[in-house]
């Protein structure tokens, strides 16, 4: 009981260490999700309105990548960005940037796959309308993205939740360095192994609060749709 009270006190007293970790986690995951959303929605909207050779195969690959194990992503990035790796000269290993790249790779297939369904449905609904107006591809893309805006927002929040809760890849490529690459999930792993359960629990509670806030946001958006 004392442990739980202490954990909550850490949060309500705005423990400096805790705040820094939460802030870094949010910065990295938000950056990765925004980048992933930008790229994914462009790709998904193009896939929704165009028929091309290999589209079915591409959808299967993207869907398969949704369940890509984060540790595998971390391992591959480690090999590519380590000193002897292909992109080792960029010196990105153990930096927040490489953590953004790792989360970007994990989140992108999720956003593409989920938004493709929504955008394809909108395109099917509006297909005749576009034909009668002789809309350009650019106009069609803009319109279906705007028409799917609430669905896409929910999908992006889902992607952000995935990025925030991810631990396998960021611990490998980030190295869990204090004040530099230590995020909530990697910190929970470390503090638990060190027996610092109070801080670990504070971080866990913070993560749950953020998840609850995001679900609350999704509920508000859903209400707006329905």
């Amino acid at each position: 009981m004392e442990l739980i009270i202490h954990s909550f006190l850490n949060i309500f007293k705005f423990n400096q260490n805790l705040i820094e970790i939460v802030y870094l986690s949010l910065c990295i995951s938000l950056a990765a999700t925004i980048l992933a959303a930008f790229v994914s929605i462009i790709i998904a909207s193009q896939m929704a309105i165009k028929n091309f050779f290999g589209k079915g195969l591409l959808i299967i690959i993207v869907n398969s990548f949704m369940s890509l194990p984060p540790v595998v992503v971390g391992l591959i990035l480690y090999l590519v960005f380590s000193a002897s790796g292909l992109l080792g000269f960029l010196d990105l290993l153990y930096s927040p940037e490489i953590m953004i790249i790792a989360q970007f790779i994990i989140v992108t297939p999720i956003i593409i796959s989920l938004s493709l369904k929504s955008l394809t449905d909108q395109y099917a609904r509006l297909d005749d309308y576009f034909k009668t107006l002789k809309c350009s591809s650019k106009m069609i893309r803009h319109t279906i993205i705007y028409e799917s805006r609430y669905d896409l927002l929910i999908i992006i929040i889902t992607g952000l939740s995935r990025a925030l809760s991810e631990v396998g890849a960021v611990i490998i490529v980030g190295g869990n360095i204090d004040n530099m690459t230590r995020v909530m999930t990697t910190s929970i792993v470390l503090e638990t192994s060190r027996g610092e359960l109070s801080l670990a629990l504070s971080l866990g509670i913070s993560l749950i609060i953020i998840a609850l806030m995001m679900n609350f946001l999704i509920m508000i958006i859903r209400k707006k749709i329905l």
């Binding site: 509006l126 309308y129 809309c135 106009m139 028409e147």
Partner: protein, 208 residues
């Protein structure tokens, strides 16, 4: 008489079932043509083939006009709207037609005022009644004066007063030189103007 469309041995099948079979007929330029027939006779399919939304299984649709310089407009039986306000729905049409932004508000308000719908300007499409949606669909189809107007059941959900508005609008457009092709049974709409009639029976042309 100048034909705007000429149909030669036109057939259209869906899942190996003939919807239209061996249709030969013409649509006269600057005329009003009314397509009649019982439910499932192939009227909507015929209109879609004329417009070019679908392609015939066999036969030809000859179009005697320049596609790039002819303004076509289509009112669907079940109107498709964007999930936005009335104003934004109409703006989208003007944007697609590359109308200068300066004129948007004037064009939209003029059209809405004509049908006494100016109060709906900022309303979201989801709060409109069936009749208001149908009128808005009609407004949208004539927002940019079309050279050829396709109307599929334009009087759905409308009361007598609004049917007479649409009737007047069709006459006005036709007097200005537009060709109007209507799928309709509503005698209230059709009684006010002269028209050529095409009647379908089970996918076959009854008389033209």
């Amino acid at each position: 008489m100048n034909k705007v469309y000429a149909l030669k041995d036109l057939s259209y099948k869906i899942n190996n079932t003939y919807i239209l079979k061996d249709i030969n007929c013409n649509i006269i330029n600057k005329s009003i043509t009314v397509i009649k027939g019982h439910n499932g006779a192939g009227k909507t399919s015929f209109l879609r083939l004329l417009y070019g939304l679908d392609s015939p299984t066999s036969g030809h649709v000859y179009r005697n006009f320049d596609h790039d310089n002819t303004e076509l407009s289509y009112l669907f039986q079940n109107s498709i709207f964007l999930n936005r306000s009335v104003k934004e729905n109409l703006i989208h049409i003007l944007k697609c037609k590359k109308i200068s932004k300066r004129n948007w508000e004037d064009i939209i308000l003029d059209a809405l005022i004509k049908f006494n719908l100016a109060y709906l300007y900022n309303h979201n499409i989801n709060v409109l009644s069936g009749g208001e949606l149908q009128l808005l669909a009609v407004i949208r189809s004539i927002l940019i004066q079309p050279d050829i107007l396709f109307l599929d059941e334009p009087t759905n959900n409308l009361d007598k007063k609004n049917i007479s508005y649409i009737s007047k609008m069709i006459m006005e457009l036709n007097n200005k030189g537009s060709t109007v092709i209507i799928v309709c049974h509503d005698e209230l709409l059709l009684k006010n103007f002269e028209y050529n009639e095409i009647t379908f029976e089970k996918g076959l042309l009854n008389h033209a």
